[in-house]
Structures are given as structure tokens and as C-alpha cells.
């Protein structure tokens, strides 16, 4: 489990550095696979069928359908890559490290003496790093990946703090995420058509 969490954090750190959109989606795929694995590991530990189903759901939707949609979008966006992020890759990795420290601080403050401290801290830092990606990255696709990273963090959080939400709610959340990616995908495609680039800083017409 600890190894899994370390690898998970590593994927998040990679996401703060990538400039190629395809690679970013690939990293997200690996990250989701690890989240699914975490669910299944807990399933083996506790022997409850619930976790296997949740893990399977994650595999189907987050490592297959969502990445497939994102790859399909990226394919249409030739020559798009992240340039001139708000922060340079080095600074943003540093910020991610800061987020991790912050996450540990938050967990120790809010839930002192909790058993799964490391998993929780990893979950909160995934949420923070996801948020950070959305704020400092300019490419639409990278922002979608950031959003999904946040959601992965929340999933890990629910796994480690409450042993997962009830399956019906989990199902709803995953379905919402799927539709969100589809909607954002359509919008990304439209941004490409209208602005001939998917750099979201071009979206600055509406003010006041």
C-alpha cells in the first residue's frame, strides 16, 4: 500500500512538469490504475466485495473510457503543447512539494492520530496538486487532467478515511466525472475551432 502511495505521488509530480498533452493523459491513466489497485488491495485486506466492484468501476471508466476520450481529443489538437505556464516546471514542482507538506499539516490538525495518515495526506495533496494544475496550466486538456486528479484524490480520501462511500454514490460520482469529461471535451474541441488554439488564457473576452 505504501509503495502504491509513493508511486501515486510520483505521477502527480510528473503532471506538474509535462508539456506534451499525450504524455499527460498517459500519466493520468497510470494514476487511475493505481487508484483502482488501491481499492482492490483494500478489498483483499477486508474481504468485502464492495471494493472489488468499486475498483472494477474505476478501471473501466477512469483507465479506459475517460483516457480514450481524452486521447481522441488530443489527436484532433495537432501541435498543441503547454508553453509559458504561469509558473515554470521547477517552481510548480516545488509548489506541489509545498502542497504535500500542507496536506500533512492539514491531516495532523484535522484528524490527529488517524491510522491511515500517509494515505490521507497523499489524497489531500492529490486534491491540492490537481487544483494547482488547473490554476497554472494554460492548456485545456491539462486542466481536464487536473480536474480528474482532484477527483482521484477525493476517491483515495474516501477510501482511506471512511473505507469508501456507498457504491450507489460512488457510481453517481464516477458517472458525473465521465459526463464532465465528455462536456469539457466538446468545449475543448469548440475552443480549438473558434480560437484555433486550446490555450485557455485566450478566454478573456467576458469581463465586468
Amino acid at each position: 500500500m505504501n509503495l502504491l502511495i509513493i508511486l501515486l505521488m510520483l505521477t502527480a509530480f510528473f503532471l506538474t512538469r509535462v508539456t506534451n498533452l499525450r504524455t499527460a493523459v498517459g500519466i493520468f491513466l497510470v494514476q487511475s490504475a493505481m487508484i483502482a489497485l488501491a481499492s482492490i488491495v483494500i478489498g483483499i485486506e477486508t474481504g468485502e466485495i464492495h471494493y472489488y466492484i468499486a475498483g472494477l468501476l474505476t478501471v473501466v471508466i477512469k483507465t479506459a473510457i475517460i483516457p480514450y476520450m481524452l486521447f481522441a481529443i488530443v489527436k484532433r489538437l495537432s501541435k498543441e503543447r503547454e508553453t509559458n505556464s504561469v509558473l515554470s516546471p521547477n517552481v510548480s514542482s516545488l509548489a506541489a512539494a509545498g502542497a504535500t507538506v500542507l496536506a500533512y499539516g492539514f491531516i495532523d490538525q484535522a484528524l490527529p492520530g488517524v491510522i491511515s495518515r500517509d494515505a490521507l495526506a497523499a489524497a489531500v495533496s492529490l486534491v491540492l496538486i490537481g487544483l494547482q494544475i488547473i490554476i497554472i496550466r494554460r492548456q485545456a486538456v491539462l486542466q481536464i487532467v487536473g480536474l480528474n486528479t482532484m477527483e482521484n484524490g477525493l476517491y483515495l480520501l474516501s477510501l482511506s478515511v471512511t473505507n469508501g462511500l456507498p457504491l450507489i454514490i460512488e457510481l453517481g460520482i464516477v458517472f458525473d466525472m465521465l459526463v464532465a469529461v465528455a462536456v469539457l471535451g466538446i468545449l475543448t474541441y469548440r475552443i480549438k475551432i473558434s480560437y484555433s488554439s486550446t490555450d485557455t488564457t485566450l478566454l478573456r473576452k467576458l469581463k465586468g
Binding site: 488547473i134 480536474l147 477525493l154 460520482i173 459526463v179 468545449l187 478566454l203 467576458l206
Partner: protein, 487 residues
């Protein structure tokens, strides 16, 4: 009898499917209006059942007096929006050269959007409520982007991004709530609102407070509370006018509803003081933020959107006062605001069509050019700014009264000054549109009868609640306030 709860979910779903069938735009319109009328009647029946029996419960679905007030809002608004769309969207089809396919897409999403809003109001479980709120964002996103021009795409992108990030924080809060529930040994019914509320005293106070901070930030984004309101003016101004009306009147109300449900839990567990400061501060700040934008606004739909931010601030402030009287005022205000603001957005749609611009400065002399429309706009503006004898005046009056009665003299005073500033700003711009000489040639586009009916119906409802609140409505409001705040 409670199986009628399934009915209100099924009807919009069936209508969404059915609008894809007809081969003419007329057929699509008729199917949608019939579907929406049936759905509103069913909602009316549910509201009647709740009024007679107290609550309805069926599996994961649950509706009580609090739901019933918001269901009334949805019933009225989804019907008026359908009526208005029938006239408005057909003209869009001609002027924007969009085809039948676009119209079907519009009505399909419209019905799905109504479905998601109804489900927010009738699920009992806070987790499922989260799922439904996120679904409202997704269903309405493509409606906001309906025209697919640059501004609409930008608005939709920001809308989905800001609201989804916000709502992720609300999920974090909800997970913490579940953790508090498990720690208190209330495992059985995960995130059940009834269980959490009834056993509030057992929950860990610190955890509930922490959870509520995330929940108020998350759902507050959806309500459009400052400083998380940035998506709101963009989305409301770029969506087709009937959708703007629904977003502002119905969707914001649904988000407030979810916050109210969570307040009830916090009140039962951690007491009210903590919530009080947070809500009052957020409310006053939202009114304050809206003022400069209201005073220097050029776009009529953005003017209305910022006015929504202001009204959400008023409602949140009233919730923060937390006496039965103030919550009563807040609920009445939600009802009045929803109906008046949606009618104003419909009116803005008509104006932008007639004058071919959203610029306030170029819309002039409406009273001379179109007396009937001018009269409706004048009344609507008086209603929304809170002039007597209309409903909004009385709900604002009750809220101010409640603030002073509860001893918040300073906050109540600030509230009055802020509301007066908004009144001046709104009225100034609207007088510019109403009076003076009509500039140049006004487009002689006739407004369809259904659109006119939608606006007149809304005006009539708010005029009535100002003069006289019927007994059953009064009782329902009292009981709904008691659900939020107790007593």
C-alpha cells in the same frame, strides 16, 4: 401515493426522449409544452400531498415542506421557461440560422436540466444530492454554450471549471461528514440526511465544522456567493434567455436548498453560532461585491446576473441571522426572487431581440415604442428592486426586521445601506431603457403569445405574494423554516 415521486423524475426523462421524435419545429414545441405542463401538474400534486400529510418518502427519495417550497419554484419556472422558449427559440432558429437539430438538442438538454434540478430536491441522501448538483452543472453547461460563439464557449468553459472545482470541495466536505457519521457509530444509512439530523448531538463537533467550511465553499460557488461568483455573470449573460431565467431562478435556489439541508445538520450538532458569522459575512460581502458592477454595467443581462449575486447575498444573510422569522423571510425571498428574476431574463431576451443589442445605452424609450412591454418591464424592475407593494419588498422587509429583532443592529444597518445602493443602481439603468425617445428604428418583431403569457403569469404571482400570502403557503413557509432552524 409516494410513488408519484418516481413520476416527477420519469416525466422530464420521457419528455427529453420525446422531443427528439417530431419532424417539425412546431411538433417539438408542442411535445415540450405538454411534457412540461404534465411535469408541473405532478409537482403541484406532490406539493399538495406534502401539505396534507407532512412528507413523502420512498426508498432514497424524500420530500418535506422544505422541498415543497423549492419544488413550487421549479414547477412555475420550468413551465414559464417552456412557454417562453416556444416563442423565443423558434425566432432564434430563424435569426441564427440554426436548424431543427439544434432545437431538438436545446429541448433535450432543457428537460434533462429540469430533471437534475428536481432530483436535487427529492433525494434524501447527501451523497446523492451531491451527484445531482454536479449533474445540474453538466446538463446546463451545453445550454450555456448553446450558440457556440466565442463568448458562449468561454462562459461555458469557465462555468464547468469553476463549478466542478467548487463542487469537488463540497464532496470533500461530504466525505468528512460521512466520517463524522461513522465515528459516531451511525453506520447503517450512509449520509442519510434524516439520520444525521436526528443524531446531530452524537456527531463530533469539530469534524462537522470542518466539513461545513468545505461544504459552504463548494455549494456557495454554485449559489454564486462572492468571491466564488465569477462564473455567474458570464454564464447567465451568454445562455439563451429562457435558460438564463432557469439558471438564475431555479438553479441558484437549488444550491441554496442544499446549503439549508447542511445547515440543519450543523445546527443539530455544533450549534448555530459558528454558521452564523460565516453566513452573514458571506451574504453581506456578496451584496457589496455586486454593487460596483451594478453601478457601471453596460450589458442588460449582466446587470440582471449581478442582481442575482446580490439577492443570493440577501438570502444567505437572512439564513445567517437564523431566527425562525429571518429564515421565513429568506424562503419567501427565494420564491419571489426566482419568479421575478426569471421573468426579467425573459424580458431581457425580448429586448435584445427587438433592439438587436445587449447594450443598455442603446435600448431607449421602450414605454413609447412598446407600451405593453414597457409596462411589464417597469413593474418587474419595481418588483426586483424591492418597491412596495410587491413580494420582494415584503421579504426584504421581513429580513431587515428579523436582523434588528435578533439584535444585529450594525449588520442590519449595513444591510439596509447596501440594499439601498443596489436599488438606486438598478432603477437608474432601467429608467434609461424605459423612458426617453426610441433611438432609430426598433425591430418590429412580434412577441409570441406564449412568451407574453409567461411574463404576465410571473408578474401576477409576485404581485399577489406582495399583497396577500395565502394561509396554506404561509403555513408551508413556517414549517419549512422550522426544518432548517428548528422551533
Amino acid at each position: 401515493m409516494s410513488s408519484v415521486l418516481y413520476g416527477v423524475l420519469l416525466v422530464p426523462l420521457i419528455t427529453a426522449g420525446a422531443v427528439l421524435m417530431p419532424a417539425s419545429s412546431r411538433g417539438v414545441k408542442v411535445v415540450n409544452i405538454i411534457g412540461s405542463a404534465v411535469s408541473s401538474l405532478l409537482l403541484g400534486f406532490i406539493i399538495y400531498l406534502i401539505n396534507t400529510s407532512g412528507y413523502l418518502r420512498l426508498g432514497a427519495l424524500y420530500a418535506d415542506h422544505l422541498s415543497s417550497l423549492f419544488l413550487t419554484v421549479i414547477a412555475v419556472l420550468s413551465f414559464t421557461a417552456s412557454l417562453f422558449s416556444a416563442s423565443y427559440m423558434e425566432k432564434e432558429l430563424i435569426t441564427e440560422k440554426q436548424d431543427l437539430k439544434a432545437l431538438k438538442r436545446y429541448y433535450f438538454l432543457f428537460n434533462i436540466f429540469c430533471l437534475t434540478m428536481i432530483s436535487v430536491l427529492i433525494v434524501e441522501n447527501l451523497g446523492l444530492m451531491w451527484v445531482a448538483v454536479e449533474a445540474t452543472t453538466l446538463a446546463s453547461a451545453l445550454l450555456v454554450a448553446f450558440y457556440f460563439n466565442r463568448a458562449a464557449i468561454e462562459a461555458a468553459w469557465k462555468y464547468v471549471m469553476v463549478c466542478t472545482v467548487g463542487i469537488c470541495l463540497a464532496l470533500l466536505g461530504t466525505i468528512l461528514l460521512y466520517y463524522a457519521q461513522l465515528s459516531a457509530g451511525l453506520g447503517g444509512d450512509a449520509l442519510s440526511w434524516l439520520v444525521l439530523k436526528e443524531n446531530g448531538a452524537l456527531l463530533d463537533e469539530r469534524m462537522i465544522k470542518l466539513a461545513f467550511v468545505f461544504i459552504i465553499i463548494g455549494y456557495g460557488t454554485k449559489v454564486g456567493l462572492a468571491p466564488m461568483h465569477t462564473w455567474l455573470p458570464d454564464a447567465h449573460s451568454q445562455a439563451p434567455s429562457p435558460v438564463s431565467g432557469l439558471l438564475s431562478g431555479a438553479l441558484l435556489s437549488c444550491a441554496i436548498y442544499v446549503i439549508m439541508r447542511n445547515i440543519a445538520i450543523v445546527k443539530a450538532s455544533a450549534g448555530f453560532e459558528f454558521v452564523q458569522q460565516l453566513l452573514m459575512a458571506l451574504g453581506l460581502f456578496s451584496i457589496l461585491i455586486a454593487i460596483p458592477f451594478l453601478l457601471v454595467q453596460h450589458d442588460v443581462k449582466r446587470l440582471l446576473a449581478y442582481s442575482s449575486v446580490e439577492h443570493m447575498g440577501i438570502i444567505t444573510f437572512a439564513l445567517g441571522i437564523g431566527t425562525p422569522l429571518s429564515v421565513y423571510g429568506a424562503l419567501l425571498h427565494i420564491f419571489n426572487h426566482a419568479i421575478a428574476k426569471s421573468a426579467l431574463f425573459y424580458m431581457a431576451g425580448v429586448l435584445t431581440r427587438e433592439y438587436r443589442t445587449k447594450q443598455i445605452l442603446r435600448i431607449k424609450g421602450l414605454v413609447k415604442a412598446k407600451p405593453a412591454l414597457g409596462a411589464i418591464l417597469l413593474v418587474l424592475v419595481l418588483i426586483i428592486t424591492g418597491s412596495p407593494p410587491f413580494g420582494v419588498f415584503f421579504s426584504k422587509f421581513i429580513i431587515t426586521w428579523a436582523a434588528f429583532a435578533a439584535g444585529f443592529k450594525l449588520a442590519g444597518g449595513v444591510f439596509l445601506i447596501l440594499v439601498a445602493a443596489v436599488f438606486a443602481g438598478m432603477l437608474y439603468y432601467c429608467c434609461q431603457m424605459l423612458f426617453g425617445q426610441p433611438a432609430g428604428s426598433v425591430q418590429q418583431v412580434s412577441i409570441g403569445k406564449p412568451a407574453m403569457a409567461a411574463m404576465v403569469l410571473s408578474v401576477a404571482i409576485v404581485a399577489v405574494t406582495g399583497l396577500y400570502v395565502p394561509d396554506f403557503f404561509n403555513n408551508a413557509l413556517r414549517l419549512a423554516a422550522a426544518i432548517v432552524i428548528g422551533g
